[in-house]
Amino acid sequence: MKVLNSRERKRLAESLTKEYGTPPKIFSGLELYEHGGGLWAATRECLTIDARGLKVDSLGLQVLRNGKPTIHGIQLLFREASATELSEPEAKKFMEGGSVECAARIAAYGGHPIDAAEESGSGKRRPGR
């Protein structure tokens, strides 16, 4: 397990901004750590827990998998991002992996990010996350 330092967090923010066209909110108050090919967010108290006497299975929330944000990562990283607002039928279709028109990479419903499109314009969700 490797915890990201401030320089690595900054680099991650730059890379996500470039990819999604909007600056992410890099979890103020949470640590980011690499584990098993993914990036996870957890509180400092969870990361520093004395694991003796506990069978710890996972710590915190997975936000990136193979370099790409998970659905939950998108929702938290781009909480205040500019996004394409979908109608309810569009959001349901998108949620099920269907295609909808989506100008921005981030698709939202009710003002809350729902997921990221494969690329802007195509509007299809990345499968398998």
Partner: protein, 284 residues
């Protein structure tokens, strides 16, 4: 099951009606006052709880993790624990994560909740729900809670104990088919063992909430009486706006500690919910 006397008719009438669906707003992602289209009446004992006017589980808001479908009476347990931001909390029997995600929201995703589940399959459902709700302040452990070895390590502990489920007859009438006195006795034995462990794991001055979804005194007041008699724990009041009956102090010739009256018995007909029991204990 407990003999209810004149309450029996009200209970039977209530059990004949379908259970009202309810949900909590996930304040880690959404504003508690957000006017979701399915929002119904507010649940008085949970600041973020509402009854729903439509099915919530299929909505986009549910997918987004803005809401969590949860039985209304069961929202009492996490509220009664009064967990604060930054604390070290243990949820001894956490899956599928209803109360853990509620605690995480109450703590503002700070501190640490050790969310334990003995069954690896149920732990998977727990992780799924923690992710969906954006919870980052949990360490999920998969083990028998009676083996957790961190004495005096927790500010607060939630023990939503495995039970005979008699309070869930309204949601699941088939629960009656698997209910037996033997099951009650087995659960009661396990519950006391879990209380013994919780008492050791709690810091001095820390709080333990013990809850079940059954009305069997053997699994409720008897467990709390055991906690008070065998450990340095005292019963504390639960400050919640919920219609309820006090804990009973005499059952089948056995007398329980008088303070057991402070515990909360929620019958289905009290608030039109499932049956529930909760006790708040503080370590001296």
């Amino acid at each position: 099951m407990l003999q209810l006397g004149e309450e029996y008719g009200k209970l039977i009438e209530c059990l004949g009606r379908p259970e009202r669906e309810s949900y909590r707003v996930n304040t880690l992602k959404a504003d508690g006052g957000e006017p979701f289209p399915f929002r119904g009446e507010r649940i008085p004992w949970c600041g973020t709880g509402y009854y729903s006017t439509a099915r919530v589980g299929d909505t986009v808001e549910h997918f987004q993790g803005l809401v969590y479908v949860q039985e209304a009476a069961s929202m009492l347990a996490a509220e009664a624990l009064e967990a604060k931001p930054g604390e070290m909390v243990l949820d001894m029997s956490a899956a599928p994560g209803s109360k853990t995600t509620q605690l995480a929201a109450l703590m503002g995703n700070t501190g640490c909740i050790v969310a334990n589940e003995i069954d690896p399959k149920r732990a998977k459902a727990l992780r799924f729900n923690l992710n969906r709700m954006g919870v980052a302040n949990t360490a999920v452990t998969v083990m028998d809670a009676r083996r957790i070895d961190k004495e005096g390590g927790f500010d607060r502990i939630l023990l939503d104990a495995p039970c005979s489920n008699a309070g869930q007859l309204r949601e699941n009438p088939k629960a009656l088919e698997t209910w037996s006195m033997r099951k009650v006795r087995e659960c009661a034995k396990l519950q006391k063992q879990l209380i013994d462990r919780a008492a050791a794991l709690l810091k001095e001055g820390g709080a333990l909430v013990y809850s079940t979804c059954t009305d069997s005194p053997e699994e409720n007041e008897e467990a709390v009486d055991h906690a008070v008699e065998e450990h340095n724990l005292r019963v504390d009041d639960i400050r919640a706006d919920i219609r309820h009956h006090p804990g009973i102090t005499v059952w089948q010739g056995r007398e329980y500690a008088d303070d057991v009256k402070k515990t909360v018995r929620v019958y289905p007909e009290d608030n039109d919910t499932a049956g529930f029991y909760a006790a708040r204990l503080v370590k001296r």
